[in-house]
């Protein structure tokens, strides 16, 4: 294995500094590989451990012990010698047409850092891009004052900000309960939690309960939920939701004013300055998709996930995936998966033999299995209701281009067969977010309208750059002799 020949050449690039990426980078680098860890955030931690090194929330009981575990991942990373480049957005992962000079695989990574573009050359890439909140399209969800619960949690972790006026939380899933609990610890105001978990989900989930009863998270989760239920108003069986705008209590126009919900067929209205929506999380697969990694529809988690083997290897050689970006498993699972992926990458780079890989992997694999125990129960119980996945006609699905579900259905009637066609029919998914937020909804709406499965409908085919970058940034890329030759000779 050749030593890195410049500051832009590494054996392994890890994209994402959440639990998966932190663990992967530390393990790979401590085994002698040259590793760069790239993340668009200013600090390591990913979503769960966001700002763990510098959060202003010093009272440890507010964010809870799971959060502070994140700090334990940073020491090993520092000691490993991995290079960490925070504030680096990766917009492309591509294999050059020919192999590197000595026949080694070489993969080019395009990134933006401090407003300038740069290219890296590496021999293996581990994508640990994590999760994002599942879109929760309801009428009025684009009003200022409506945020994701995960967004509110980011505000708490990074800035110690909590809602101040009338506050309503709505949706279902563990993260909603966790945030409510953190707000309780912090003394923040919550007027009501509107629980949209469908009653029928319990019937489907019950057979999976035994697995969940063995889960290490059971006790923690139950305690947290009971405490929230005891102290806050929780309104169950909510089947419809709408956010209404007007002049807010701060005097601003066109902002959230109230939340209307339906329960047992009756509508109720709550005044609200802040509405926090949550509906579970889905893999952040944009980069994997644009890199050409095959993906499949996961019926249980109702989302697309890149296809991987038990080591996180994808269909593209030299590119592997770890953590929630490969399918939602939670932070502890992400960490273990990161280590397994790093071991396999070391093996593929010829640094360790197969036997050593398998031997070293055993404890991580056991821990991964433990961390995933009971997941099927949670996935089934918290499957979002159809009404919130396949919204009514008047609901905006593509926030960037302001395309409604009705417009998507109309396009289907005119012959639009899938998300990629919806782009040209409607510009749906063509705004700056590049379909990140509307993708899952557009697939589900088209599938429902055509009466076929989301698997058949497919997903957006994405192309780099996966994040908008300016032409000026691209133009400022340093040119190699080969680049210049390519222009002059042809």
């Amino acid at each position: 294995m050749s030593a890195p020949n410049s500051s832009y050449d590494f054996d392994i690039a890890v994209v994402g500094a959440g639990p998966a990426g932190l663990a992967a980078a530390a393990l790979a680098a401590s085994n002698g590989a040259s590793v760069v860890l790239l993340d668009e955030q200013a600090e390591p931690g990913g979503q769960i451990y966001r700002a763990v090194t510098e959060t202003p929330v010093r009272d440890r009981k507010v964010l809870g012990p799971d959060y502070w575990h994140g700090a334990e991942l940073l020491g090993p990373l520092r000691d490993s010698g991995a290079v960490h480049w925070p504030g680096s957005t990766v917009w492309s992962v591509a294999r050059p047409r020919e192999d590197g000079p000595d026949g080694q695989r070489s993969i080019q990574i395009g990134l933006s850092r401090d407003g300038a573009a740069a290219m890296l050359t590496v021999r293996h890439v581990i994508l640990a891009t994590g999760a994002l909140e599942r879109p929760f399209p309801i009428p009025g969800w684009t009003l200022p004052g409506v945020l994701g619960a995960g967004a509110a949690q980011v505000l708490l972790k990074t800035s110690g900000l909590v809602p101040s006026g009338a506050t309503v939380m709505a949706g279902s899933g563990p993260l909603l309960w966790l945030l409510a609990w953190q707000y309780l610890q912090a003394g923040a105001r919550i007027d009501a939690i509107l629980d949209t978990t469908p009653k029928e989900n319990w019937r489907a989930a019950l057979p999976l309960l035994p697995g969940f009863l063995r889960s290490p998270y059971l006790g923690k989760g139950m305690k947290l939920m009971l405490e929230v239920r005891r102290k806050l108003t929780v309104i169950g069986n909510v089947t419809a939701l709408r956010a209404e705008g007007g002049v807010g209590s701060g005097g601003n126009e066109g902002v959230l004013k109230s939340v209307v919900y339906t329960r047992n067929g009756t509508e109720h209205r709550l005044p609200a300055d802040t509405l926090l929506l949550h509906h579970g999380v889905v893999p952040n697969l944009n980069l994997a998709n644009a890199t050409g990694c095959a993906q499949r529809w996961d019926e249980q988690q109702r989302c697309w996930r890149p296809t991987t083997d038990e080591w996180g290897a994808t269909s593209v050689e030299g590119v592997s995936l770890a953590g929630d970006g490969a399918g939602i498993g939670g932070a502890r699972a992400a960490e273990e998966a990161g280590r397994l992926t790093a071991l396999d990458a070391l093996h593929r780079l010829g640094r360790i033999g197969r036997e050593q890989r398998d031997r070293s992997a055993a404890p991580f694999r056991a821990a991964l299995d433990r961390a995933l125990t009971g997941r099927a129960f949670l996935d089934t119980l918290y499957t979002p209701a159809e009404a919130f996945r396949v919204p009514a006609d008047d609901t905006i699905v593509c926030r960037c281009e302001e395309i409604t579900a009705g417009a998507v259905r109309e396009a289907v009637r005119l012959g639009c067969s899938g998300p990629n066609q919806a782009k040209s029919f409607l510009r749906c998914g063509m705004g700056p977010c590049q379909g990140r937020l509307c993708g899952p909804t557009v697939t589900e709406v088209i599938a429902a309208e055509r009466g076929i499965s989301p698997a058949e409908v497919g997903y957006y085919r994405l192309r780099p750059p996966v994040k908008p970058i300016t032409l000026a940034e691209l133009a400022a890329l340093p040119k190699t002799d080969a680049d210049i030759d390519a222009v002059f000779k042809h």
Binding site: A151, V154, L155, V162, R399, C400, E402
Partner: protein
Amino acid sequence: MFRRLPEIETALKTAETVAFTIDGRPASARAGDSVAAALLANGVVACRNMPVSGAARGPYCMMGVCFDCLVTIDGTGNRQGCQVRVAPGMAVETQNGKREVER
């Protein structure tokens, strides 16, 4: 509307504050805040108007996904407020419609 936790409010009185402007008005934030968080902390819930309908938008995801937090920072349009840290003297402007040419 958002407020700081009391312990942080107290800490802010002593240090760590950053002075910047929102549409020319003086404002202050905590060092380490993203621009989007700094706007929310100053009672600004809407940071841009949509190019299509003109509707007001404010930060939604706080993790770089939705692009609803687009603002003009020091004269450059279309910056994601949730991904940029507020800095001393920064001029943040709410964005009306599309990014302007040359900005």
